[in-house]
Amino acid sequence: MSAYINIIQEYKDIPGGLIEAYHALQREYNYIPEDAIAEAAKIFGVSEARAYGVATFYSYFKVGERGRYVIRICESAPCHVAGAAEVVKALEQQLGIKMGETTGDGKFTLEFCECVGQCQATPVITVNSKPYLDVSPEKIPGILSECQ
């Protein structure tokens, strides 16, 4: 609990710092722990409802646990026509989970996302924000084995 407080405190005096604090929490945990929302509300002097409302508005933030490696697949039109669906199928098959789920060992989470601005080499996926370009089903095992 106190770990959250220390992280959030750092942004307390920055105007509009709540979102920056959430980014910092997510850098630490890969998600925003539920309890941290209540702490953030106290520290920034806003209602818990408001702090929760901000955290859940943004798709980059995830309240509640997810895997250590968050794999996001771009499904915007350019990636879609380049074959994003096959990449999704390969990831689901190899990890044994569906989109939106986390593997039993808490290692991987699969999520859809929209364009991540790397459209020169579609389809694109990101692993903890790091982009992988021109992804095909054949490249998936290699990408997964990098996650150690």
Binding site: G16, L18, I19, V54, S59, F61, C115, G117, C119
Partner: protein, 407 residues
């Protein structure tokens, strides 16, 4: 054969973006020096005269926008750079920031001097954490060199909400709130960030400013299309041989973009459609390819230049399937503040899904058209207003694709 012209990307590949000395050697910060030797009014008039219009989608004259903030006489004002770059198929602001971050900082500092602001924010999308690092390093170097004078710049990170590219939603987000657009007026140049006068400009707009100062308004206004002078950075995606970015004068035609620069359609297939300006842009058929890409010519054919994304589709693409991706995008990205957008994007996606799965009826097409027309005038912000464009333009130009899906 049309040729590129690099103004915004003048330093691309020529300097080390993480070394301010390189930028200075290439003539960097001369524009700011020149600006500071001018009166604020003369500076604003020079930018106005260049004819530079916003590169973020709305196409407003940059100098004219600055004059609104200048005229307020408020004590605290802000300069905000819109680096949210959320339009699918767009990555031009990333290319600018990764390769020449100082030119963005210089453009912002010139704006700061012009309107009388001491503080600037760059709102960079959360998907670009590596760009945030570059920007912070560039700011540290500029501060250490003292080139920015008393102008301070801070980077804020977005968190994956397309609507935060809309300037008032972006301001809400910097303030630490949900990114919901505000009612306008008042417009940001008069009352923006923390209710203070705020200029929001796109990355590419700011990156043009130092050159305009250096080479003069007359030089700039003579390039490209008369009513939207200068160049535009475009990003080519989809069914095109060269999936590249280019910077071209604004009087370049769509056909030149796709064939001269893009190298045409792969595998000897035929061209079917191009969507320009990102996901909210209209679809353009073969018959309109000789249109020039400038803002007004594009509006003239019911399309938009927007962010400059150029998404090409070949003859094998099913338009309804692509449009379904787009309507799902808008349903997801609608912030829910206003009813026509919240409900409209949902129903629009529902109908398109029905059509795409072969369950649609002719009646659905009429409903789509009506819904689209209502949304384009009734929605609070540009998201909902532009969301129907892909549907309406495909209904118009690619009616056969829809008929083929009817039950």
């Amino acid at each position: 054969m049309a040729e590129e012209m690099r103004i915004v990307l003048r330093n691309y590949g020529k300097i080390d973006p993480l070394n301010i000395e390189d930028y200075l050697k290439a003539g960097g910060y001369k524009g700011l020096e020149k600006a500071r030797a001018m009166s604020q009014i003369d500076l604003i008039n020079e930018v106005k005269k260049s004819g530079l219009r916003g590169r973020g989608g709305a196409g407003f004259n940059a100098g004219a926008k600055w004059s609104f903030s200048y005229n307020t006489g408020a004590e605290v004002k802000y300069v905000v750079c819109n680096a949210d770059e959320g339009e699918p198929g767009t990555y031009k602001d990333r290319i600018i920031m990764e390769n020449d971050p100082q030119s963005l900082l210089e453009g912002m500092a010139i704006c700061g001097y012009a309107i009388g602001a001491q503080k600037g924010y760059i709102y960079c999308r959360g998907e670009y954490p590596y760009v945030v690092d570059i920007l912070n390093q560039a700011i540290d170097q500029a501060k250490a060199k003292g080139v920015l004078g008393d102008f301070d710049i801070e980077v804020r990170m977005g968190a994956g909400a397309y609507v935060c590219g809309e300037e008032t939603a972006l301001i809400e987000s910097i303030e630490g709130h949900r990114g919901e657009p505000r009612f306008k007026p008042p417009f940001p140049p008069v009352a923006g960030l923390w209710s203070n006068p705020t200029i929001v400009n796109n990355v590419e707009t700011f990156a043009n400013i130092p050159v305009i100062l250096e080479k003069g308004a007359d030089w700039y206004s003579s390039i490209g299309a008369k009513s939207y002078p200068g160049t535009k950075v475009l990003t080519l995606t989809g069914d095109v041989n060269n999936r590249i970015f280019i910077e071209v004068p604004t009087d370049t035609t769509i056909r030149q973009v796709i064939y001269d620069f893009g190298g045409g359609i792969p595998d000897n297939k035929k061209f079917k459609a191009v969507q320009i300006g990102g996901t909210s842009g209209g679809f353009i058929p073969e018959s309109l390819l000789d249109t020039s890409i400038d803002f007004d010519s594009m509006s003239g054919i019911g399309a938009a230049l927007g962010s400059g994304a150029v998404f090409v589709m070949d003859e094998t693409r099913d338009i309804v399937d692509v449009v379904q991706r787009i309507t799902k995008f808008f349903e997801h990205e609608s912030c829910g503040k206003c009813t026509p957008c919240r409900e409209g994007t949902k129903r629009m996606n529902e109908i398109i899904c029905r059509l795409n799965s072969g369950q649609g009826l002719a009646y659905d097409l009429t409903t789509l058209e009506k819904l689209g027309r209502v949304m384009s005038v009734a929605c609070l912000c540009g998201l909902g207003q532009a969301a129907p464009a892909p549907v309406l333009t495909t209904l118009k130009h690619f009616a056969d694709d829809y008929s083929a899906h009817l039950n």
